[in-house]
Amino acid sequence: MERIKEHPILGTCEPGKIVHFTCDGKTLEGYEGEPIASALRVNGIMVHRYTSKRHEPRGVFCAIGRCTDCVMIVDGVPNVRTCITPLKEGMKVETQYGVSRKGDVK
């Protein structure tokens, strides 16, 4: 999805400072301090995790840190709510399978 640049009520949406991070090994750009989930959405990434039993995709649902549907592995830590965790330079974001990395699931 695109970023909003000009908004009739909010005016010009100033671009943030660009930082680089990886998602499943791929290097992507985002704005420093924006939610990880926002940066992912701008990069077209909708699936944040797969459920453990039925292997169903999940993504952002509430965007305010309540529903935990958007959790991913961030810098090695699983179950990080990407919708409220600010993006930082060099972050390593990974799709979560159950509560683990792909392949780590028994």
């Binding site: 999805m1 909010l10 509430c62």
Partner: protein, 527 residues
Amino acid sequence: MSMEYKEMVVIGAGPAGLSAAIEAASKGIKVTVYDENARPGGQLFKQIHKFFGSKEHKAKIRGFKIGEELLNEATKLGVDVVLNATVMGLFAQKELTVLINNEVHHVKADAILVATGASENMVNFRGWTLPGVIGAGAAQTMMNLHHIKPGNKILMVGTGNVGLVVSFQLLQAGCEVVALVDAAPAIGGYGVHASKLARTGIPFYLSHTVKVAEGEDHVTGVTIAEVDSHFKFIPGTEKHFDVDTICVAVGLSPMTQLLKMDGVKMEDTRGGYVPACKKDGSTSIPGVFAAGDVAGIEEASSAMIEGRMAGAAICEYLGYEDHEEKESREETLFGSLENLREGMFAPKNRGKKIEKTEEGIDISQNLLRHGFIGDDEVERFPGVISKKGIHPVIECSQNIPCNPCQSACHKGCIAIGDHMTSLPVVDPESECINCGMCVASCPGQAIFLVDEEEDHTLITMPYEFYPLPVVGEKGMALGRDGHEVCEAEITNVRTSKAYDHTALVTMKVPAKYAMTARFYKKGEDVL
């Protein structure tokens, strides 16, 4: 772990919590506000529309501006707003545990206000867990706080005020809204909110709901179908839309977990399962108060007053004010709150079918079913007049507690009177000077200036989209239903600080479309 002592703790820095903090801090109470979010203001900073009500309710001011005002006031009074602070538990003897930076703080307070707000409800359908199905609040957060489009093509589920307002905000963010659906047979929110969507051409499907969200890894389409009076799908009524996002706005539930944990007496009401409170917000536990959506779902405007009342009650509880002072403050505030609780959409009218306005005029059934007032219905409302020369036309047809239009006009064209929910009346004898203040003041964007001449009509409409039309541009005038009615030329585009980001766009149409042309679409071959 040592215990921290606080004089007054507020849980939640939304409109209720901040208002209570301001009220109490202004009397000298030391207030600490905990909020689990990184930013204060609750949902106010996502509310980019103008609020309804009267001046004392901050009507015609946009929500995020109200949020800024509250925060400034609280900061000036020395209120300590602690962010990224999640209150995990509320215990006997007014003790609480707060998680800050992965550390649990043990706090004891003399008085506690729970103002935790509400969370969104969900509706289940096949595929509802697919990425691309989001809550309406999520859409607001993404576009209005983080400035990203939630989706490109969106179906909105729910026609309450949240569904209507968020749909409009999606258009403002540059997204396409393909339709609004609601399982109920009538639009739940304000007719004026529905009308500003309908006139852009967005269809409403009432008695319809989502059958399936389609897509493998994320939403690529949606099928809706009509439901009968028992909410069962009617076979053969399926309709498909290509969308990448399904936005769900099906109501809110009070977030009462902390109050329940504390053992506060609860009750089942139309506003949800809420704490049994007195009107000053005091619960069954002395020193524990509740205000805002957690005490029953209403608007942010009501939450601010409830917060003030709870703040005043806490002033008395902690001995900063005597009983008479509190009672008198409460009476003033309660009067203001009662004004907001009037009209067709009042809490007491929830679930009731209303056939006539307070004035005895038949409600527009077209509005409830399709989102716009029919051309054959509109002239029965007192704000709608036709005469030679310029005059306001106010397509306000439901009794809502709102009156900014009355004070916006200094020429006496518009009268609501003392009863805030009355429909605005346009006086055909008064002289409109084309100032446009009424158009910009209407939170429902229901006011137009119509200048009826011999051979043409100039129609001035509120316009809050980008790009703005430019003078000389040609396109099509759209009717209330969003269908093209005639060709139109833009003759004036006015912006002003006084209009607060509502542009006033004037289009010229043939005289006979004075009462039907209500929106403008740029011609596709015109660049």
